[in-house]
């Protein structure tokens, strides 16, 4: 994708009055409207169809009505970060945007669309998107772009505590940022110059929130309860309890029980690392809760369970090294046998594809977005590891926006406020009808060597 220069539109239809921005993630989509006049906060909508153990089916935002997440199963249209299954996605989009009672109802013929995709998408999947957007939904105009790109339209300087940008000046994308997007499916590293991705340096780490949750599920199922049919719960446990260690070896020692017959005193609390997670029973307790580990509790639980019906007792998981060995995979994927380097090494691998003169600019402007950016300790560790690998003369600064989950969407909303800039980057329905899908693919920066 290439943001176009400002041009004066003398012909063609006027741009639509408002823009629907969909950051179409695998776990949630972030969606809402923006126009020069107004922007409201985006809705974060589960991008899935789900079925609970009573066989009720939930579509997208309906999931908030679900009271019992035990054994719930999911169908997700976005697989590996890419929109693969349009049958399910259309069902969700219809429900959220087009049906009579849709929460974000709009008439696509009068609405512009900004739709994100993960970098390095397959051309066929891109064309499927373009065809659905124009031939099925009929949006008036459309911009498909890699999600990292939109972040360049946020006020980056303010994130780095520099004076905020002047709102009276025309919108310009951030000059130089290294955007790390760590989501459900994977983690991508995208260097951007003035909002344009340097494609040859984009790198992907195949570690994302799903893999972390599944890994935690495996550990808990091997060591405590079988949680394999409760990954929704395990995801909540992960979000509540997991952190990136500042000193992996030290934390590992602190959580070691010690040899048999010589239990180490530190083990029970592990210097504060040990935590109990009270599982929801979906009767009295609908939401789980993390507490400091209570060594007496596990014993009490056994007594309770032996005397009373099992539901009378609280189900408690105690987490020790699971808290930090799980997010550690972002930094050491080889811990589970993956043949990939961690995120800091991949940042340097990305830079190695670029002229040395650009390194200081990228290293001083690293922004982390996506759900994993919320994991405690992630930014600190990333900064330290990159600093250790970078040339010593380089300043390394790693920041995250206030809400890393909706940052991409916010950038899209900023872009949509600049009607001229957005329409120079977008394709109109008229252009699609006239020039066809292959032309649209080119306009959005697809591989020019790809032949259908």
């Amino acid at each position: 994708m290439a943001p176009g220069h400002r041009r004066t539109k003398s012909s063609g239809p006027a741009p639509p009055a408002r823009t629907l921005i969909i950051d179409n993630g695998a776990y949630t989509m972030k969606a809402g409207f923006s126009s020069p006049a107004s922007t409201s906060a985006p809705s974060v909508i589960p991008n899935c169809m789900a079925r609970d153990r009573e066989r009720n089916v939930y579509i997208g935002s309906q999931l908030s009505k679900c009271k019992d997440f035990g054994e719930i199963v999911f169908r997700r249209p976005v697989e590996k970060g890419y929109l693969v299954n349009w049958e399910a996605e259309k069902e969700i989009w219809d429900h959220e945007f087009f049906e009579g009672k849709a929460p974000l109802r709009c008439d696509p013929r009068e609405t512009g669309l900004i739709l994100t995709e993960a970098p390095n998408a397959l051309p066929q999947l891109q064309t499927n998107c373009d065809q659905m957007v124009f031939e099925e939904f009929g949006f008036a105009s459309y911009l498909r772009c890699p999600a990292p790109v939109l972040n360049a339209y946020n006020d980056i300087q303010a994130m780095f505590k520099a004076p905020p940008r002047d709102p009276t000046k025309p919108l310009l994308p951030a000059e130089i940022i290294l955007l790390i997007d760590s989501g459900y499916s994977h983690t991508t590293i995208t260097p951007l110059i003035q909002g344009r991705p340097l494609q040859s340096a984009i790198r992907r780490l195949d570690v994302g929130g799903k893999l972390l949750t599944n890994h935690l599920t495996r550990l808990l199922s091997l060591r405590q309860y079988d949680m394999r049919n409760d990954t929704y719960l395990v995801n909540e446990i992960k979000e509540a309890c997991c952190y990136v260690s500042k000193d992996f070896k030290a934390d590992m020692e602190a959580t070691w029980k010690g040899p048999k017959g010589d239990r180490r005193e530190i083990y029970e609390t592990a210097g504060g690392i040990a935590k109990d997670y009270i599982l929801p029973d979906f009767h009295k307790r609908t939401k789980g809760e993390m507490r400091d580990h209570d060594p007496g509790l596990a014993g009490k639980l056994k007594q309770l369970q032996s005397g009373k019906a099992p539901e009378a007792a609280e189900d408690i998981l105690t987490l020790r090294n699971e808290r930090f060995t799980v997010p550690e995979l972002l930094f050491n994927p080889s811990d589970i046998g993956m043949r990939q380097s961690g995120i800091a090494e991949l940042v340097m691998d990305s830079l190695s594809a670029l002229p040395f003169g650009l390194w200081p600019g990228f290293l001083a402007n690293i922004i982390v977005v996506g759900g994993n950016a919320n994991i405690d300790g992630f930014l600190w560790r990333l900064q330290v590891e990159i600093q250790a690998l970078a040339p010593t003369e380089c300043i390394v600064r790693v920041v995250r926006p206030a809400d890393p989950v909706v940052s991409t969407w916010n950038g899209g909303a900023e872009l949509a406020k600049d009607v001229d800039l957005l329409s120079s980057m977008s394709v109109t329905k008229q252009e699609y009808d006239e020039y066809g899908a292959a032309w649209v693919a080119r306009k959005f920066g697809g591989d020019p060597n790809w032949k259908w």
Binding site: E136, R218, M252, E345, E393
Partner: protein, 300 residues
């Protein structure tokens, strides 16, 4: 020390087999090869240098586990689109369904299917002569190659021939206020670079707005040579990498580091290997727990 059917592996090196042992019995599984791809050029070069040689059995186990970690649900489930949406009652009509849309909506291909299609087509495409490349129609409006001459460029560079001047680093971070609109290519290969407007405005003569770090001596201690306008144009025009080529590598420095193993039972360092299944445990206590399980799974 008595050998309890275990092998101390803390300091031992696994005997090396030449090359990378790909797992024969699961090699055809597309979703697995997406997890541990062997085809990318960059990957292949590094694998050859890897000191971490593993047996086919170990590789198979890792791949099995990685495949499990990639699953959406523990069991296979099918959640069909509710029937009420298949008829027109209550369904939003987006107008006539075109053949392309019908095909897309009916497709139940997975990502792995699409990736396999892409790879097959890439082979065909790369064998075609370049002259077969279709000419893309270039409509007048969106592909106008030059910015209008009235564009508000406030810091036009005077001397196009001069190389980019070295700039204190702080301008890298504080320069966007002073940034000039760059000549943007709205389409690859349809326009010519504008010689007079730098892509990076780091050499702008305008003072950037004050920044708290302005007086930090660290930030002016190193002055890098910025790429030329030509280099930048080339970088920005580069086409996207394929899905497989964008996968981050296992860099040689990392491959040389010892792989960390963890106890299957408690998660502590896995210093001891079970001879029966190859699983790791930390010490005798966890080995006891592990072996109970191992007996039931593999037999005594």
């Amino acid at each position: 020390m008595l050998n309890f059917g275990v092998l101390e592996v803390a300091n031992s090196t696994v005997p090396a087999a030449p090359g990378w042992a790909y797992v024969p019995d699961v090699g055809a599984n597309a979703s697995m090869s997406a997890l541990q791809p062997s085809r990318s050029k960059r990957m292949r070069a590094q694998i050859a240098a890897s000191p971490h040689e593993t047996t086919a059995k170990q590789d198979a186990k890792i791949l099995r586990e990685l495949t499990a970690l990639d699953r959406e649900n523990h069991r296979d489930v099918s959640i069909p689109v509710p029937v009420r949406h298949r008829d027109n009652a209550g369904r939003v009509s987006h107008g006539k369904v075109t053949p392309a849309v019908r095909k897309i909506l009916q497709s139940q291909k997975t990502f792995a299917n699409h990736l396999a299609d892409y790879e097959a087509l890439s082979v065909i495409n790369s064998s075609l002569p370049p002259s077969n490349q279709p000419v893309v129609p270039s409509p007048a409006t969106p592909s106008t190659p030059h910015p209008p001459s009235t564009s508000k460029r406030t810091h036009r560079k005077k001397d196009a021939g001069a190389g980019p001047a070295p700039t204190p680093l702080r301008r890298v971070s504080a320069a966007s206020e002073a940034a000039t609109p760059a000549p943007i290519k709205s389409e690859i290969s349809h326009d010519t670079p504008m010689k007079d407007a730098p892509i990076l405005s780091l050499n702008s003569t305008a003072e950037p707005p004050p920044h708290p770090e302005d007086n930090n001596p660290l930030l002016v201690s190193w002055i890098p040579q910025l790429p030329t306008q030509e280099e930048m144009e080339k970088l920005l025009a580069a086409p996207p990498l394929s899905y497989n080529d964008a996968r981050g590598p296992w860099i040689p420095d990392d491959m040389r580091k010892p792989v960390r193993h963890f106890c299957d039972v408690c998660g502590y360092w896995g210093r001891v290997r079970c001879m029966r299944c190859g699983g790791r445990v930390c010490a005798l206590e966890c080995l006891g727990v592990h072996q109970e399980e191992c007996f039931t799974r593999y037999g005594a």
